[in-house]
Amino acid sequence: MLTQDKLLEMYYKMVLIRAFEDRVHELFVQGRIPGFVHLYAGEEAVAVGVTSHLRKGDYITSTHRGHGHCIAMGVDIKGMMAELFGRKSGTCRGKGGSMHIADFEVGMLGANGIVGAGGPLAVGAAFAAKYRGSGDVVVCFAGDGAQNQGAVLESLNAAAIWKLPLIFVVEDNQYAISLRSLSSTKLQPRISTARSVAERAVAFGIPSVTVDGMDVLAVYEAAKAAVERARAGEGPSLLDCKTYRYYGHFEGDPMVYRSVEEVEEWKKRDPIKLFRERLVRGGVVEEVLDDIRRKASLEVEEAVRFAEESPYPEPSEAYTDVFTDPYY
């Protein structure tokens, strides 16, 4: 049973992700953030529902759309914002940017600019966890598009034969840039009613389930079983979460491939709205939830201030960190 504190913490994280992403969107439009930025707004229930089961020692691998995974894992948003601004105080000292935030202290093995590349890395981290016998688990977040990458399919097979403590979480937000997931993946509705990569996992010998990715409690329940299975040494699972991204693929995307009506339709089942309604029905007073939202906004503003006041890295830092030795 989820305690009220836990529920409110989940709500806080979802709201914090949304506030962060909405603010980054504005900052990008204003030209204050450089580079390529992919926002997670709309998909909060997936990251939060899954990572709520993780503990110190567990790891996740992430994607180009990684801000939500970072915040759900507890990466400090001041450092994240400073990273997006390219400042020295950033999570990765300004060297990585939006697509390459990693924070090993909290088990965040890295966002990734290469679609599907997190799969093999997750296999390796899960191999290490199994080797240590620590009971730690690994979560591999990857999009619907990434599911057609050879690296991901090879990873499913490796995880299955080695019985690794690994949870593959598919974030099926309906599109890989402009390509609909329904036209990139040909599957017959045999096992579940939805056409779904969950069926593929079964062919690899991996139990899987299709989940409403807009419902954080549904994600939470599905992830609970998968994480318990992994901790017990019973091997990998796959969760196929149906969700939606609200902004363009990247900031600046003209979105020629989808209609405003479609976006509005999905927003009717907004994950934060749905969860809030559930909490209120369960007896949480609205003011408590409003306070949480206000707190999240203030934290984001604080992060922006921190980022803008931070200095850029010295040019000489371009040559450090290539190897562990000073030589590059």
């Binding site: 450089p34 580079g35 290469i114 990434a146 390509l179 993946t185």
Partner: protein
């Protein structure tokens, strides 16, 4: 004479694809987001509408499968033009390029042709960080069996893409992201620019600069600066690295006695070093100064604008380097 209009680099490429597909029904276009979206930089805009989904194929994110399918389709008689969205992603599909496409004709005793064009993007300067900013042409020039094309102007982009599509070998065609919006005169009719013919962008007598892609523009900026200080620069754009117009470079260095090679790819074991070695071999007696390279140091491309600026070659760095070699008379 054909009609010359000012159009952008991206429009020139788009026009080349439209015209060649019109002419040759064996040409097919494949890649991520090349259809409905028209390519994330707009190069394939309108092709799906004009030629339909049999010839313009939106692929899943499966580079090994669709780059490899380009190789196989070329072997089986089509003339595919396949887009690899960013060259940084070549790691996903390299086997199909360098072990399959590049070697098939040779291994099979010359009995097959692979008329494949892979189009891809290069270049930093957009804070796109370590996995979306690289300028990796040297690595393909290093491998036998792949032609390497690196245009710098809208005119060259169109003429070289048309040659690429008509050529019977595997080629990689590199489009620098900062060039897409650059405008220039381009004839309306189709025309082909032969590979291996350098373009002398500006004539000069004190120093030769060899540069490709976006760096041609930085070299020309540098040359204008240097002219004000009485230094006469000859800028040469080889336009293709494989084949490479050695003679044009040798001829220029025999005249100027000095060479600076500008190259946005990593410094170590790269294109610039190779050109320097060729010239050292062939023109040693003519050199009045050491050959210099202005390149990207061999570190991953950092995200932060200050760090990125630190490592990228630019006009200012070219001017500084040219002054060094001119001093050493």
């Amino acid at each position: 004479m054909s009609e010359l209009r000012e159009i952008t680099f991206v429009e020139a490429l788009n026009e080349a694809l439209h015209q060649e597909m019109e002419r040759d029904p064996t040409i097919v276009v494949m890649g991520e987001d090349v259809g409905v979206y028209g390519g994330i930089f707009g190069v394939t805009k309108g092709l799906l509408e004009r030629f339909g989904p049999d010839r313009v194929v939106d692929t899943p994110i499966s580079e090994t499968a669709f780059i490899g399918a380009g190789v196989g389709a070329a072997a089986a008689g089509l003339r595919p033009v396949v887009e690899l969205m960013f060259v940084d992603f070549f790691g996903v599909c390299m086997d199909q390029i360098y072990n399959q496409a590049a070697k098939m004709r040779y291994m099979f005793g010359g009995k097959i042709k692979i008329p494949l064009t892979i189009r891809t993007t290069i270049g930093a300067g957009l804070s796109a960080a370590a996995q979306h900013s690289q300028t990796l042409y040297s690595i393909f020039a290093h491998v036998p069996g792949i032609k390497v094309i690196v245009p710098s102007t809208p005119y060259d982009a169109k003429g070289l893409l048309i040659s690429a599509v008509r050529d019977d070998n595997p080629k990689i065609f590199f489009e620098h992201k900062l060039l897409y919006g650059v405008r220039g005169p381009v004839p309306k009719e189709p025309y082909a620019i032969p590979f291996g013919v350098a373009d002398v962008k500006t004539e000069g007598s004190d120093v030769t600069i060899v540069a490709v892609a976006y760096m041609v523009h930085e070299a020309l900026k540098a040359s204008n600066e240097l002219k004000k200080e009485g230094v006469s620069v000859e800028v040469i754009d080889p336009r293709t690295l494989v084949p490479f117009d050695k003679e044009a470079v040798f001829k220029s260095v025999r005249k100027t006695g000095r060479l600076v090679v500008v190259d946005e790819d990593y410094d170590r074991c790269g294109f610039a070093s190779w050109v320097a070695a060729l010239v050292a071999d062939e023109c040693f007696g003519y050199l009045d100064a050491p050959i210099k390279r202005v390149t990207t140091p061999t570190v991953p491309i950092p995200f932060s604008p200050t760090l990125e600026k630190e490592i990228l070659p630019n006009a200012e760095k070219i001017v500084k380097t040219v002054k060094e070699v001119v001093k050493k008379v």
